[in-house]
Structure formats: structure tokens, C-alpha cells
Symmetry: C2
Subunit: 405 residues, 2 copies
């Protein structure tokens, strides 16, 4: 299928007719509403529904995607098909064009309200690198790592939209060798490049979501920057895991890429050995050929490849619910840092500078071990789309601000 | 101050005029609304406000306490003073009595919507016992334990009201000595007796809540049962902490005891050595003389003493926000298992049966290592109140149901 939109679109930018990601936007002085990105414009779905052009059961005039996300896969597909029709059939142009707004004229807001936030640890390169640094005398991977997708709950209340300033956190940390812990702004502020998915349709308590039901519950994917304070994290994490080293901020991209837009990006994931337990088996290949790019102050720092993830999104969801914990609309699941076997594919400064011992040199010659005040970190991603197209994720960006006294 | 209510109250039961805890209730066929417990009755605050007897800015007709919790300390105090006046001045009796409903005629619902849920680990006896069992060759306490109140984020979406059935969770676990992990219902299902507090007034991002501001943000206290699957937890927890071993269910009591009702219960907490960093210092004593009682199937299993907690609630809150993570209305913070130096004071089966090696014998002769299907666990607590009164916490109870296939 080849479809061409009557909207003028730069195909290389990845916001063409095969993508159609959802977001929440506002123009100055107006209420937030739901829109779809096409090229460098936003299609105002609230106005479209008021004009009778798309079906709406009060999904689109609200300030979040949650009402639409709960509606389920038939509603998602119907709207996607209808928007595709409206943007490709030139006979609609006269009625639709008034509802296309330049992205530069709007503010993009947090696309959905987060219920619970779970962060996985599903990239073997990242987990092994972290193991080598923090547990040098043990196996890089803990014994459970290839048996289940390790994860923990993060703080839902500090999931922020792209562009939110990141205030360097205060906290308690102890440098190895110091007899006493000290208090002050984090000295090892880091980013983590991740890919997340958000649940739309809830599930029942007491019953898990099998891998085969992934698309019935999951609305779409976002980019995630799970900001981390490595010194705070290292000191606090035993025995119950990360807490304040993570909970100050997590940024998500403004656009949610529908699951349907990523069908052409699905690839066979790495071989899993040992074979996972039956509840984690997945008949369909659910690796995703997403190419991430991390920039620090506009300079390329790394290019992680999401196809290298050991555990896939349906496996993550099946695991997170196997104990009967129900899904809620807005539950966000992040992949964990996306890294690769090469240094230029590592997804955080902890790995890129090997815990500060080998500074990263950016193309313009500046060097970093961890992030400095004023640094801007931007993560982008593209994937192959249907009919040879490209699917872009909206960027997730944030600038480090000095600590507040 | 001695105050006497015209409502007939059994003072020993702890729901007298010095307590006045808040909850959410519904009568069959009616909408949920906010009420206050007095004796064995509920004062219907929604009806009281409709009758012009209490001030209400739409706090009380909603199905949760959140709208009232966000109103802040002056509103909490004004309503408490007014309810005290109405229930003690006999001249109001004729107008108020129609709005007193027997507790036995109503259903008590979850009192508030949980934003984020944080679980601490602040009892030294519990932490040391767990350390002895799980890390027998190391110090019972990790090096950070007396420097900061260790905590992790739990799952807000599975915080349930007292009485909710607890379905035994499925999961992946490996018995020590087994070469392979296996899948099935948890074989080591446990409870944890805890005390939680809930935030009412939000705080700003980037700024912590000092220990001195605790009462400006915190609405009240509840009892918490942090149900735990020890076999799932033990296998999954390295390196990022508990996840599915905890996230299937957490129960909270139906009544929220206002902070103001616990002033007479405040005691000096255990000496902290080493002295905590300045951000964790607390000028006022914030130990709480709460006496917990755990029953299994109506038989007393243990009597933990909350006054033995090493870290106090204001210290927990200051720590959880020191990195600039803002508070949201409905944020729930649980203490961690309350245990004591004696076996009869331990707050979970893990400790009471020493990880299953020493079965607990209940007064009627039944023995337990961990919980069996059909077991009902009920936690209650009392504290000294003003003028020699007693302050009761509403019970938190739950019955273990068989796993769902």
C-alpha cells in the first residue's frame, strides 16, 4: 500500500502519512486538546470532531490522551483509518486544511496522565556494563537477568513532558573511600535513553496480560529520558533498589507513536538462551528496529539501536502483570537504557564515560564525564515505516538547570 | 481539655471525640461521600454541609478525601473544630443526629486516590532480621541504613481498601538450591504490618519538604498491609529491588486518623547514632506510641510497637523530597514492617517463622510458616489520645483467595 497525503510533507523527517502520532497541544490562550502530527503541522482533532469530520465520544477536547487510550483498539484503528482517508483524499482538503496548525504555533504538552511508571532493565549490554562497574568481582549479569525482565517502579508524579527544565537534584551520597556520606547537589548527573510504551485498555486484577494480547492493551510508544543521579543512586540502592537517584525527573516525548505505525519496524529479537518460561514466550517477533540518536548540546553523543533489546515489549508487559496486578490506563513502561556492543551505541554517560574514568569527547571537542549545568540532552529516533516510509519519534529534550538552594 | 460527646461512645473502642477519623462510605444505592467516625456511627459530612452545618467547598460529596486533603491545614483544623463543637454541644443534637448512620449500615470504601506509593524500611529490628536471613555472611544492616531512611516506590494502582480479597499471585521463583526457576502460585505469601501517612498539600518541584513542615503537608495516618510474596521477591530483587513480589496488593485501613488526633501519642524516638545529616534532623519528637495487633483468623499473632521505629515520619518525608521531587495530593508513604526486639513483636511471617524454619504457633494451636488460602489477616492499632482518651485506627483486613488459573 502506498498512500500519499495532500499535505506537503518532508518524507525524511518521518512525520508522514504512515506515522500519524498523537499528542496534546495548546495555542496561546486556548484549552489543550488532542492532535495528530502530519509533516510540520498538527491536525486539531477537537476541531475536526466539532466539524463532524471525525467520530469523537469526548476523546479529543480533553487535555490528555487518556480518554481516547481507554477506548481500545477498534476505536484507535477507526480513527487512524479516518484520519488517513481525510489526509489523502484531496476532496476533503478544503474542509480539513483549516484545522492544520503549524507545530511552531503551538505548545506541546504532556500527552497523557501517567498512572504507574515501571522502568525495565532489558538491554544486555547496559546491564552487563553496569554490573562490571558496580560489582567488579561478580558475574556482570545477576542470575535472574536472562530468566525475567528485571524492573522496578519509578515515580509517576515526576514524569514530565519534553522540554521541562531538569533541576539538578540535591541528595545524600558517599564517594567510595569516603568514611562519611555527604549532602549536596548530585555530582554525577546522567541521562538514560529509553523507549517506553503506554497502556490504554485496563486489565483485570488477578489475571495477567499474555504476550499475545499486547496490542489489545497498548496504545503506543514514546521516547523516555530517565534522568539519573548516579552518586545518589549508588549510595541508596541497597537493598531495595533505586529511589531518589531516579525520582527527581523522567522526561517523555510529546508524540505517542501508535503501535500500528510500527508494524513495519518489527524484527526478530536476539536469541533468548535459556528459553524463557512459557508465560514469557512470544510467537510473533517483537524486536523493534528503532534507531536512536542522543545529542548533547547539538553534538551527537551516541546512536543506540533498540533492535538489540534482549526482552521485548510484550514480554515486559506479560511479566509486569503475571502476578495479577491490573493495568490502568496511562501505565507507562520504559525499556531501560538502550545500549549496544560498541562505545558509540551506549545510552547513558555512566557507560559512555565508564563511570567518569574515560571522558566522552563530542564531535566539537568538548568533553564530558557526567552532565554539567546548562547541558541540553535531546533524544530522537526513527524506524522503518510501511511502504518504504520513515517513522519518527518526537524528540525528548531537557536542559540541566542549577540546583535550587 | 476534656470534651464529652452527646453521642453514646464506648471509650475503650477508641472512636471517641478526640479521634474523629475521616473515611469514604456509601449506603446501598447511594453515591459515596465523606464521613467522620464517632463511636459506632458515621457522621455524613455531605449531608451536614447540605444542611448548612459544616462548611464545604465541594469537599465532602465526592468519592474520595482528595479534595478535602488538598485544602490544607487551616481547613482541616476548622472542620475538626466544627465537628467537635457539633458533637459535644447538646443544643445541636436535634439537627445533627439525623446524619449519624450506623457503621453497620454502610460500606467503607478506599478513603483516597493514591498518587504515588512509597514504602520505607525504617524499623531496625525488621531490617536486621531480613539482613540476617538474606545476607547471612554480611552485616545485618547495609552501610546506608542508619544514614538515610531506605525506601522504594511501590505500585499505586494496587493499593486497595480494607476487605478487598487478596488473590494469591502467580510468579517466577527459584528455591535456593534449585538450578532452574519455576512458575506457579507463590508458596511464601506474607503480610507486612505497617503504618502509613498520606500527603494532602502538594509541594513545589525542586524544593524539599523540611521536617518542620510535616504537618503543613500531611493529612493523616492509616494502617497498611503490604502483602508480599517472599519467593517471588527473593528471586527478582537483584539488582533493582522488589517488584512483582510486592505489586499484587497493598491494603489500607478505611479510616484516616488526622495528624491532630495523634499529638498526645508523640514520644521521643530511639536515639539516632550516627547523628543524621542536617536535612534529616527533627527538633520535635515524632516517635508515635502506636500499639499494633496482628490477628490471623482471629488469633493474635503479634503485637508490634510503632514507637520503636528508627526513622520518623517527618524524616521520611524530608528524605523522599530532598531531591526536589514534588508531593502530590494522595501520595502515600508506608513505614515498612513494624517489628520489635521480641518474637511476639515481629510484623510479618518472614520474621515470625524465621523464613519458614520455625513455624509460628497461634493461641488456638494452629501453626503457620506462611499464609494459607482462606487465612484472614487483620491489623489494628491504638494510641493514647488527648485527655486520657484512646485513639483507634480502623482495621485493615484481607482474606487470602486461591490463585486464579
Amino acid at each position: 500500500m502506498t498512500t500519499v497525503s495532500w499535505v506537503d510533507v518532508d518524507e525524511d523527517a518521518g512525520f508522514g502519512i504512515e506515522n500519524l502520532p498523537y499528542g496534546v497541544f495548546a495555542r496561546p490562550g486556548e484549552m489543550p486538546r488532542v492532535g495528530v502530527a502530519i509533516g510540520d503541522r498538527v491536525l486539531d482533532l477537537a476541531a475536526m470532531s466539532a466539524a463532524g469530520l471525525v467520530e469523537d465520544r469526548h476523546y479529543f477536547a480533553s487535555g490528555s490522551l487518556n480518554a481516547f487510550m481507554v477506548a481500545g483498539r477498534p476505536a484507535w484503528r477507526a480513527n487512524r483509518d479516518r484520519v488517513t482517508e481525510l489526509l489523502t483524499d484531496a476532496s476533503y482538503r478544503g474542509r480539513v486544511e483549516p484545522h492544520l496548525i503549524p507545530v511552531s504555533d503551538v505548545e506541546l504538552l504532556r500527552p497523557f496522565e501517567v498512572a504507574d511508571y515501571v522502568d525495565f532493565y532489558s538491554n544486555e549490554h547496559h546491564a552487563a556494563n553496569a554490573g562490571r562497574m558496580f560489582r567488579p568481582n561478580a558475574d556482570p549479569l545477576t542470575p535472574n537477568w536472562k530468566r525475567l525482565p528485571v524492573a522496578y517502579h519509578g515515580r509517576a508524579g515526576t514524569v514530565y513532558p519534553s522540554g521541562t527544565p531538569i533541576i539538578r537534584p540535591y541528595g545524600q551520597r558517599r564517594t567510595p573511600g569516603d568514611p562519611e556520606p555527604s549532602y549536596g547537589p548530585s555530582l554525577r548527573l546522567d541521562f538514560e535513553a529509553e523507549v517506553g510504551f503506554v497502556a490504554g485498555v485496563p486489565s483485570s486484577a488477578g489475571r495477567g496480560v499474555p504476550t499475545s494480547a499486547f496490542r489489545d492493551h497498548v496504545f503506543g510508544f514514546v521516547l523516555v529520558n530517565d534522568w539519573s543521579a548516579r552518586d545518589i543512586q549508588a549510595w541508596e540502592s541497597q537493598p531495595l533498589g533505586p529511589f531518589l537517584g531516579k525520582s527527581f525527573a523522567t522526561s517523555v516525548s510529546s508524540w505517542v507513536v501508535p503501535v500500528a505505525a510500527l508494524e513495519a519496524a518489527r524484527v526478530t529479537p536476539p536469541v533468548q538462551d535459556p528459553a524463557p518460561l512459557p508465560y514469557l514466550r512470544c510467537d510473533d517477533p517483537w524486536g523493534l528496529d528503532l534507531h536512536l540518536e542522543i545529542q548533547i548540546n547539538g553534538q551527537v553523543a551516541a546512536r543506540p539501536q533498540f533492535a538489540s533489546m534482549y526482552w521485548t515489549p510484550p514480554q515486559q508487559l506479560a511479566h509486569a502483570t503475571v502476578n495479577g496486578a491490573p493495568l490502568r490506563t496511562g501505565d507507562l513502561f520504559a525499556s531501560g537504557t538502550v545500549s549496544g556492543p560498541e562505545r558509540g551505541q551506549r545510552g547513558c554517560m555512566l557507560e559512555l564515560s565508564w563511570n567518569g574514568r574515560e571522558p566522552l569527547e563530542l564531535p566539537d571537542g568538548t568533553k564530558r564525564t557526567f552532565l554539567e549545568d546548562g547541558d541540553t540532552v535531546t533524544i530522537r529516533a526513527q524506524a522503518p515505516g510501511a511502504a518504504g516510509s520513515r517513522i519518527a519519534f518526537g524528540e525528548v529534550t531537557g536542559t540541566v538547570h542549577p540546583p535550587q538552594p
